[in-house]
Symmetry: C2
Subunit: 214 residues, 2 copies
DNA sequence: TAGATTGTTAATCGATTAACAATC
DNA sequence: TAGATTGTTAATCGATTAACAATC
């Protein structure tokens, strides 16, 4: 299944979006070129790590010069798949679902919200950023008729587990999970979880025990 | 400053809330005891890792028996500081701020929302879960009069950087940062960032290049 | 007691950092 | 060309896994 030649480690993948963000900021500041060393100061990582990370994907730099900011930015976009469109469906039209739907920048990066669903029939027909809220019951028919790349789950955990199972069976390959639970889907299905309560607990721990970087 | 004897690694700290969640679920299911091996199957980690992790904090188990679920749950709560109250202030009363404010379970874990602030004067006086929305201008006076443990930033990046700097100067020790930027605060200040766009980009990467676990 | 399972030490694996030759 | 900085190999560091003696 299109297995890549040399496996990129998870640690590297997690850092890529951060490189991308910083390069975007540098472009806005009008910076044309940057050395791994300058970037390392800005990002508070080692220059060595930056060079190692980038060289997983190819030699984007030039000896004696450094990296061209715009080119590197575009290359990372390509690596991250941001040059392609991704259709997104949001399940749950509560505050969190609406927060995601309203984040305009997602569209700029190629994430197109194709539908919003909620179990509450009262919301049916209302719109969020011009997108009609549909009843959750319709999701399976919708999934059969539309190619959905990513499903965002902003509903309570019991429902989230159930909906994910059903949609995975219909071929959805990626879930963005905001429910406070693990999902029960096949190995090859991507699950990226945002567990806000766990994030908050880490703050609590660090307040008790003194900070620690990440 | 109350430096702990043996430094706990970040990797361990990140896993603690997940142990806590699973133990909570086990309690709900009426499970009284569990071995590291049974837990490892449930959580999809190695039993070895579970025992190593827990033994950073003390021997909570018993040979030949395993772990008492309720006791372990309470011990982890204590380690995470969930037995203490933490005051939280939310900056930004948009969808994301409201989503956080409305998450009832936070209060159960001892996180008390003391105030909500927004730059939009039209919101002034409206309430979220019974908490009045104040004008952002009032935050510094508020910070001087109240002990704030954690400040959640759900405002655009420029404002977030600015507000964080000002509040750090007033002694706030922890920020829960939802803005798409790094904060500029002293080393000893805790910053836990939730970068939703970076999370979404990781999904995009994995869709392009085949999944990878975490 | 015998069996089970922990706590902990040792071995392995992987990720980060350092170093430097290649080269622009 | 000389200077700068990459790409990449080697060294180090840390985290995970395996193994097993201790002990309930």
């Amino acid at each position: 299944m299109a297995e890549k030649e040399n496996k990129i480690s998870n640690a590297v993948i997690k850092r890529l979006p951060r490189y991308y963000r910083h390069l975007g900021e540098l472009i806005e500041m009008g910076v044309e070129r940057i050395s791994s060393n300058e970037l390392s100061v800005r990002m508070k990582v080692t220059a060595s790590q930056i060079r190692q990370d980038l060289n997983n994907f190819g030699g984007f730099g030039q000896q004696g010069y450094g990296y061209n900011v715009k080119i590197l930015y575009m290359e990372i976009a390509k690596i991250l798949g941001l040059d392609k469109k991704h259709s997104v469906v949001i399940i749950g039209a509560g505050n969190l679902g609406r927060a995601i739907a309203n984040y305009a920048n997602f569209e700029k990066r190629g994430f197109i919200i194709e539908g919003i669903f909620d179990i509450n029939p009262k919301l049916k027909g209302s719109t969020i950023r011009g997108i009609e809220v549909r009843n959750l019951e319709e999701i399976e028919d919708f999934a059969k008729e539309h190619a959905i790349d990513i499903v965002a789950l902003t509903i309570p955990k019991t429902q989230a587990v159930d909906v994910a199972e059903r949609l995975a069976r219909l071929g959805v390959k990626a879930f963005w999970n905001f429910a406070h639970t693990d999902l029960n889907v096949p190995e090859d299905v991507i699950v990226e979880s945002v567990h806000l309560s766990e994030s908050l607990m880490r703050i609590s721990y660090m307040l008790e025990n003194g900070s620690s970087m990440d």
